[in-house]
Amino acid sequence: MSREILERFKPLFEPRTVAVIGASARGMTFPNIFMRRIREFGFKGAIYPIHPSADAIDGLPAYRSLADTPEPVDYAFIAVPGAQIPPMLRAARGRVRYAQVISSGFGEVDEGKALQGELAAAAREGGMRLIGPNCLGMYSHRGGIVFSETWPAAAGHVGAISQSGGIGTDTVRRGITRGIRYSAVVTVGNCADLEPADFIEFYLADEETRVIGMYVESAGDGRRLFELLRDAKARKPVAILKGGRTRLGTMAAASHTGSLAGDDRAWVALSRQTGCVLVETLDEYLDTLLTFQELAPRPQRPTQRVVLFGNGGGASVLATDLFARCGLEVAPFDQDVIDALAALKLPPGTSITNPVDTPVGTLQQDDGGVAEKILEAIYGLARPQALVMHLNLSAFVGRTKADVLGNLMEIVLRVQARYPGQAHFVLVLRSDGDPDLEARKREFRARAAALGIPVYDELDNAARALKALAAHERFLSSRSVTSDR
């Protein structure tokens, strides 16, 4: 079953031949840019520009139609005015496997609804499956295909679907900054033919994909989506960012992708029954994908008790409230932990209960080495299910010479290694927008990402991400299934 699915989708995710319709012999259209990008990205197969009159485009021989290419086409990228497209698809006569139509002016506007029907019918007649219309393209690292200006340095394990092209771009680009690495990102637009459930089915079967993310406005065949996700038993975590959950949001969705958004109640039900995590904002979505990428769920010990450790008293008080609202406990330590921390004789101003507030002066001791003793006490005695280390970088500026931040990360990883499987570790690097500080933050974020530590901008982001992880773990636990990882 899953082999059949993988075989079926292979030409899309690993095309050997790509046709491009809409590239110009002179200009710089989006299809021209697409051709340049996939060549830069390292696409190894044949590229066939299709053009009614030009003999060559960007140095590649051009062909008159999809029926005239030397080899059949695995993937066609199409961006020309909508009305021209149906005849082109019909002309393919079974020589094209997948066509992605970027052009808009279809079902998302009233006057384009009939044209969308014609487009879908033409794809069937031409013998191909259709992605779009009204989308931006796809990114498949293994296939050397990319639609965005930049792409992650390496392939990863997060498979994403976006019903919005813009959010698809954000998914790739902001993902790079956060350290998310994708197996693929597909923008699916109006879903005139292939719909979210088709790609969910692929990602569930795909061994390179371990985490699934979906921005969706309309489920299409919601029943099929529900059954797929239910039968998958959450063995791969799925984060869903649903647009159009409120009545006004639904109106915006109807004019955006031309689809009636399903009832919010149904989506909440879907998440409860399938273990998918429903998130509310783009930040929460990406933070959740990052979390699932880095942290293996622990259904046998669902995340509940959290220790906050870092500099910033007020920030940790606010965070304690927010974690509580997310169903996570930042509870004061028992006496044995307090005694152990008191024995360290930390400088005044250091709080030795949870949240553990350690001003920069404290963290500087032994160039950060003091943290090892603090964390040893926390891991050994308090045994939390998650440790959130938060560092307000502005407080470190001009006050530390040694690589205190780097040392802190190393220390945490050492302590983690002594208590395997005990606590999820996440890092919050807080900055204030100052350009120099942002530069240092980027550098540390990259170092943390290389070590497999998820990094968030604020404690709020960490709270929501851990909430998603906890929900997933609790679902697995309630259904007595073990995670794939």
Partner: protein, 234 residues
């Protein structure tokens, strides 16, 4: 009567919804307890019906034109004699909204044992198909929208989680001096309505909306006291 026949009968008569008696027969066909009831066409049949049922009794007008019976005075409870039934019928017929409606008859039924009121509903979502809902009765559903939905079919675990999701869940366990309601009985009704081979799945093509309201749940069981099934448009 066989469940599919109840629906096709109603369709044959051009009805948009099942009447209360047919609705309860549908529930009974799925093993959900409903009060014992009989239909009278008019006051003349009251005495024979009274003899066949165990008082106190409830009386309800049956009309395709009246959506909310109790709002127009079409429901009377606690009737303990055939004279009381006769009197209640003539009082109802004096209400303008009832007098002007097409009245099929009156449902006379035994009253459920005391308990807590809950609501179980269903709706056909255009994308996801049948959904099942549960909530506590009265203001909890109508004002606070304290309800939980699931996509059908639900499992026993889903049904239990639906109840735990309700803000008013402690009330079912007997908080604030309420009579404790049988959780097992509610789960059982939810499975019969929304489960694998339940009513909503079996008749997904025919049922647009379902409203089983109220269901009276005591410590021992649950009885569906009123039910309304709106049919899909054909």
């Amino acid at each position: 009567m066989d469940a599919q026949r109840l629906i096709s009968e109603a369709r044959k008569q051009g009805r948009a919804a099942l009447d209360e008696l047919a609705g309860k027969q549908l529930l009974a066909a799925f093993g959900i307890a409903v009060p014992k009831s009989l239909v009278v066409r008019d006051a003349g049949e009251a005495a024979s019906v009274f003899a066949a049922l165990k008082p106190p009794l409830a009386l309800k007008v049956t009309s395709p034109d009246i959506l909310h019976k109790s709002d127009v005075g079409g429901v009377r409870v606690g009737l303990t004699s055939s004279e009381a039934i006769v009197e209640a019928i003539s009082e109802m017929m004096a209400v303008p909204q009832i007098a002007s409606a097409r009245v099929d008859g009156f449902l006379v039924e035994e009253m459920a044992p005391a308990g807590q009121e809950i609501v179980v509903g269903g709706v056909r979502d255009p994308q996801f198909g049948p959904l099942v809902m549960v909530g506590l009765g009265g203001v909890f559903v109508e004002v606070l929208a304290d309800v939980a939905f699931r996509i059908c079919p639900i499992t026993r675990l889903d049904a239990g989680e639906m109840l735990d999701e309700l803000k008013g869940a402690p009330l079912l366990r007997g908080a604030r001096g309420r009579l404790p309601a049988s959780r097992a009985a509610i789960v059982d009704v939810l499975l019969k309505v929304g489960g694998e081979d339940g009513l909503l799945m079996r008749h997904a093509a025919d049922i647009q909306e379902a409203d089983i309201n109220p269901i009276i749940v005591s410590a021992d069981g649950a009885v569906a006291v009123d039910a309304r099934f709106v049919l899909t448009k054909r």
